[in-house]
Symmetry: C2
Subunit: 99 residues, 2 copies
Amino acid sequence: MWDALGDRTRRAIVLRLSEGPRAVGDLATYLPVSRSAVSQHLKVLKDAGLVAERVAGTRRIYRLNEAGVIALRDQLDTFWNRALGGYQELIEQPQEDQS
Amino acid sequence: MWDALGDRTRRAIVLRLSEGPRAVGDLATYLPVSRSAVSQHLKVLKDAGLVAERVAGTRRIYRLNEAGVIALRDQLDTFWNRALGGYQELIEQPQEDQS
DNA sequence: ACTAACCGTTAGTGGCTACTGACCAAGAGG
DNA sequence: CCTCTTGGTCAGTAGCCACTAACGGTTAGT
């Protein structure tokens, strides 16, 4: 799940799609990579369930997938709850020094 | 920032540290990698401001860094607000078909 | 002082991945 | 039918990253 958004280009694609549905070539125009790269990234995002595909003639219109995005956000929240939840116990302990 | 938590081992370290401060060798015991690898991951996390270091004799006790963790969480929230915020406009638009 | 424990650093290696370019398939339009 | 556009796929490459192994420095214990 982290892998899907672990890439800078894929995050740019997700943010782009958040503005509205886009075709592959349209996305590639505003990215410093080729259409081929964009297509491969979209495949990763699709496999992760983050985007959905709609065929319109020779073009493929991609858009964000509600369920996938929300599911990912939930997983991130779980991680943060564990990371921050345990941390609350620490800041109450005395700390002698620190670098 | 995503790079810091983009690695599976580093996420395990963060979760481990959320339970309390740990020494390097202590962390390595419960991880399938060597002390050297753990030390390097801690360096990355320290550079990212996610952990702090405390010297105790020959040992280095690591703990989570409040400011860094909170800052990272804020950045993640910003990303999600943008990704989900824009999405709200989409689900109101008519959708002909989808694959 | 000598030894053992603990840890950071460095060099080197293997594997993964993002990227490009070429090719191919399919629809649109003349 | 032919051509152009669009995009998925494949092969190959370059770069990065996690890891190990060996080394050196520092501290605690005897």
